[in-house]
């Protein structure tokens, strides 16, 4: 889609660097792209294969920033990413004025792993869209996938497809994929199971965890970076053992540190090489925060996330 590139080109004089998406190792995988020279703008793309949430690059060292204070950092955000950005602004981790936000209404992105579970593909030759159908040609011929089949789980439950904040809107707003009352359907169906089954589910899922910490490092709001409790050596809070209890402890610390902050962007789950549905834990917390405190993360840049309102002087807690 050239619309995004054109919009960025039009703003280029005000920008020092733009964070967007470029082609990855094949035409159906994309990568974060940092553009610092106008001649590289042609590498920018936007399509339903663009999966990465780019906002983490604004806060994780080495931070992408403009050296020339008169210029700004351009960042491309979908609806979900814009909520991460709002959360970062709330916590004063990024300065809004230093950014030029290119907002993109998004109808969802492709999850190749979900497709592979339904239909193993071999030798993918091409992938294109016909309406909202994804047509993939592989050694077995042309196969058609509907949005229900190819969209990432986070996209199927998306209620904010349009950017919450933006300076330039690229494209027309799109309708949400899920109704607000339906956004926690995965948590609800999980909770239909009895406790032993839920325990068995997490035991099996977390057993696969290899503690690579991709979930943490891809999370735009996991900002402790190299000071994470999971790896501190003095004191050593977590053992090096690889039992489910150790893995559970890490994932739960991760989730709890995000309670009321997590915007459920789903990056943690997307990047997991072992395909563990780790966002589900954060969805549960998001729901609790919504029910108890009437708060939805990443919506209002002026709001304070409920668990950041702690005041030591307050009495009666």
């Amino acid at each position: 889609m050239n619309e995004l590139r054109k919009a960025i080109e039009a703003e280029w004089p005000r920008l020092e660097v733009v964070i967007g998406w470029g082609l990855g190792f094949d035409p159906y995988h994309t990568r974060p792209l940092f553009v610092r020279r106008s001649e590289d703008l042609s590498g920018l793309i936007w399509n339903p294969f663009c999966v990465q949430n780019l906002t983490g690059y604004l806060v994780k060292t080495p931070v992408v920033k403009a050296e020339d204070k008169a210029k700004k950092v351009g960042i491309c955000v979908r609806g979900c990413d814009s909520r991460s950005l709002v959360a970062l602004i709330q916590e004063k981790l990024v300065v809004r004025d230093q950014l030029l936000v290119f907002g993109i209404p998004c109808s969802g992105t492709v999850d190749w792993r979900r497709i592979a579970v339904q239909t193993p593909l071999s030798g993918v030759k091409s992938a294109r869209f016909e309406g909202d159908l994804l047509l993939v040609e592989d050694n077995g011929g042309v196969r058609k996938f509907s949005p229900d089949q190819y969209l990432a789980r986070r996209c199927l439950r998306c209620v904010h497809p349009n950017p919450i904040i933006h300076d330039v809107l690229v494209g027309e707003p799109v309708p949400p994929r899920a109704a607000p009352g339906n956004r926690y359907r995965d948590v609800e169906s999980f909770e239909q199971q009895n406790l032993p089954d839920r325990l068995a589910f997490w035991q099996e899922e977390l057993d696969r965890c290899i503690r690579c910490y991709a979930c943490r490092n891809a999370c735009p709001l996991c900002i402790c970076q190299d000071r994470c409790i999971a790896e501190t050596r003095e004191p050593r809070w977590l053992t090096q053992r690889m039992g489910v209890p150790e893995k559970f402890l890490f994932h739960f610390i991760h989730a709890l540190h995000l309670a009321g902050r997590c915007t459920e962007c789903g990056e943690c789950e997307r990047v997991c090489p072992m395909e563990i549905p780790v966002t589900l834990m954060k969805e549960k917390l998001g729901r609790i925060v919504g029910d108890l405190m009437g708060y939805e993360a990443g919506i209002d840049p002026e709001a304070t996330p409920p668990l950041l309102t702690f005041n030591p002087a307050e009495t009666g807690i």
């Binding site: 990855g24 190792f25 094949d26 995988h29 994309t30 990568r31 974060p32 792209l33 940092f34 990465q52 983490g56 690059y57 994780k60 060292t61 080495p62 992408v64 592979a116 579970v117 193993p120 071999s122 030798g123 993918v124 589910f201 099996e204 899922e205 696969r208 290899i210 503690r211 690579c212 910490y213 991709a214 943490r216 490092n217 891809a218 970076q225 190299d226 790896e231 050596r233 050593r236 053992t239 090096q240 053992r241 690889m242 990056e267 997307r270 990047v271 090489p273 072992m274 395909e275 563990i276």
Partner: protein
């Protein structure tokens, strides 16, 4: 070709059950709900091997477990003489005969590379050696390569047999198992029926067809020196790895990454010395006791990964790369960092960036 037996789909479970009687058997399998990444797991009767999809992890954990106990220790105090503390150590190595069923050629070759590090000396790793000597590999002729694969570019190939004791050749719905090494012959006993001439012919055809495939292109010539010339080129490493998240995915899914850390974990007066996988992508990996970190940024760390695989390792080990082209680091990287691009670019425009 060696002796061949044919295992029909109906007999596969019985064949695996039989192998599991003699071996700690590892097979690629999915989670019970069908989803989730395919990885090598210890076989239990009823496990369905998944041989038509690439695995997220290599089977290296069969020989290099993600965590293992090197020794147990215990301090004993003397009530009469509190200053006298006795230390007792126990370092039993428990190893069972192991068979990895369905390792792909890239995975099988990886064991040969790690062998050089752990077995060639000057220091031999006795824990590694004990496991490795009792591990058999049944390699799978690989027909599932994708756009991330590049085994053919680093000395392997989708029908390569290096490192395998047995070869698994998918024929129709069944599997032909061929003994490649003498020590593989006895494993075939009672596994299936002797392969008929027509099945043997079909197996030959599969091998021939797959052998002809070239998986991936990458010019690795001169990478040892090209890497050194690029070492200080900050712009190059920023271009290659600025997007790196510094997670451990590439190293943990890699069949040839073998780095580990050792920790003593104790409670009261007893504990264990653990060895566990470590990753050069982690900040703590290179953090020194003084607080100095020679590889403080993710750019430094990614550079090290490329250097180790395509410069330092081949320099030390007769030009062999510490990479078998399995493509896992490319496929699993959350931000699509492509080590092929990082290696290919080493030689590009070198004169401009001395």
């Amino acid at each position: 070709m060696g002796t061949m037996v044919f295992i029909s789909p109906e007999r596969l479970a019985a064949a695996l059950d039989r192998l599991a009687e003699r071996f700690d058997l590892w097979v690629p399998s999915a989670s019970s709900r069908g989803g989730g990444a395919v990885r090598f797991r210890r076989y239990a009767s009823g496990t369905t091997p998944v041989l038509d999809r690439l695995t997220a992890l290599s089977p290296k954990e069969a020989v290099q477990p993600q965590v293992e106990s090197l020794l147990r220790f215990r301090y004993t105090k003397d009530a009469e003489d509190p200053g006298a503390i006795q230390l007792s150590l126990e370092d039993r190595i428990e190893v069972k005969p192991t068979l990895v069923f369905g390792a792909r050629p890239c995975d099988a070759r990886a064991f040969l590379l790690s062998d050089r590090v752990f077995l060639e000396g000057p220091y031999v790793d006795v824990y590694y050696r004990a496991r490795r000597e009792s591990t058999f590999l049944a390699g799978l002729v690989c027909r599932e390569g994708d756009s991330a694969c590049f085994c053919s570019a680093v000395g392997g190939g989708p029908a390569d047999t290096a490192g395998s004791d047995l070869r698994i050749i998918p024929v129709g719905d069944g599997l032909v198992i061929e003994a490649l090494q003498e020590r593989g012959e006895p494993l075939l006993e009672g596994l299936g029926e002797p392969a008929s001439d027509s099945i043997q012919e079909a197996a030959h055809q599969v091998v021939e067809e797959v052998s002809g495939r070239c998986m991936g292109e990458l010019d690795t010539s001169g990478s040892i020196d090209a890497f050194k010339s690029r070492f200080q080129d900050g712009d190059y490493w920023r271009e290659v790895a600025e997007r790196c998240l510094s997670c451990g995915v590439c190293t943990f899914v890699c069949p040839t990454c073998y780095c580990f850390t050792i920790t003593d974990e104790s409670r009261n007066l007893q504990g264990e010395r653990l060895r566990s996988w470590d990753s050069c992508m982690f900040y703590q990996y290179s953090l020194e006791a003084s607080g100095h970190n020679p590889r403080p940024t993710r750019l430094d760390r990614y550079r090290n990964r490329v250097g180790h695989k395509f410069s330092y390792f081949p320099e030390k080990y007769d030009g062999q790369f510490s990479c078998t082209g399995c493509g896992r680091c490319v496929r699993s990287c959350p931000v699509s960092i492509d080590i092929r691009r990082a290696v290919a670019g080493l030689k590009e425009n070198l004169c401009e960036c001395p």
